[in-house]
Amino acid sequence: MCVLATLLSLQPGFAQDSTATEAPPEKPKQKPVKNTFESVWIIDNQTVMVPIKGTFEMDFQHRFGVVKNGYKDFFGLFASSNIRLGANYSPIDKLYVGIGLTKYKMIWDANVKYSILQQMTTGRWPVSVTYYGNAALDTRPADNFVHFSDRLTYFNQIIIARKINEKFSAQIAPSLSHTNVVNGFYSEPGKVSPERHHNHFAVSLAGRYKLKEAMAILVNYDQPITKHKSGNPHPNLALGLELSTSAHAFQFFAGNYYYLSPQQNNMYNQYDYTKGEWLIGFNITRLWNY
């Protein structure tokens, strides 16, 4: 009797165990992949990262002069530098909005970033997809412009990224820049034609390889696609190092983009790496969670 009672009391226990061990393979839990990148920036481009709801973020970005002048301006560090200050906030998950001010042309930008798809640990989405767009206002004195609308430029980018393994993440980001005004030239006596298109397509490739938990190598390449009649932009090749903590990311690199505003960079970059026109720059981001 006693033995029977013991067997009966054990029976449900065995059944419980077997269902508990069998259940997980039937329902694998999908989770978004975390930390594809450590910062919202990867050198001169945005990453797929959108901070979680309630995150306030600040950007401090610098681009110095070209390195090739050597000691005369201490490898560009004492040359005229370009600076951007930015502030962003995530009011809801997957969305962040921000503003920034760039020294070059005193450009104010308002930007929006929205995470359309997130790479999942298993199953459905092998990549993350994020939209980034901005509108920028050139705030130099009025005598530089004919119409108010000439101050405005726009930038739209679809960013596609994959965290390939714990150490390596890569992204590709096609973009469209628009400027409201271009310079003209006399194509024939008395007739002014535009020097360049108002819209410009480009594509950016970027990758991150982690050397240690908080240290990574960054690579970024930007290829202009649209061809203009004059003033074609040069591509950007940049190589850098990223040091990160949970709330900071510090990126230090050498590249060719000076303007900090993505549409200015993609449409007008005149620094050519084949001529050795490298410049040093850094991005610092700081996150606060509220």
């Binding site: 002069g65 726009y154 003033g231």
Partner: protein, 129 residues
Amino acid sequence: MTGKKYISVVGALVLIVVLAGCYQDVISPGSDPNGPPAFVSFSGDLIPIFNTNCNSSGCHDAVPSHAPSLVPDKAYNALISGGFVNTAVPDQSTIYVVCKTGQMPPTGALKTTDTQKILDWIRNGAPNN
């Protein structure tokens, strides 16, 4: 505020900016480079451009950290003797090329009419007038 409201507010802001938005304007350089160059005075037209954009922020000063000096007393000699002006092929002159491509000034490209004044001055033979 709910998520939907945020999206509609942000959407409305984006819409305002876009509607204020896209133009395809073209700015005339001011004078026709195929025609005869317009008259440009070095002291009357170009020096004011240098004063506004080049010689007052620690760059092309009297003792310049970056050559050439573009202060009124020194600008002409510094440009001519420093090889920044090419009267034989005016549109290849360094001073014109760096302004035209937007490399100088580093705080934002000159107005296209100002760049054209520099070119016309060189096409006139770069006189000290």
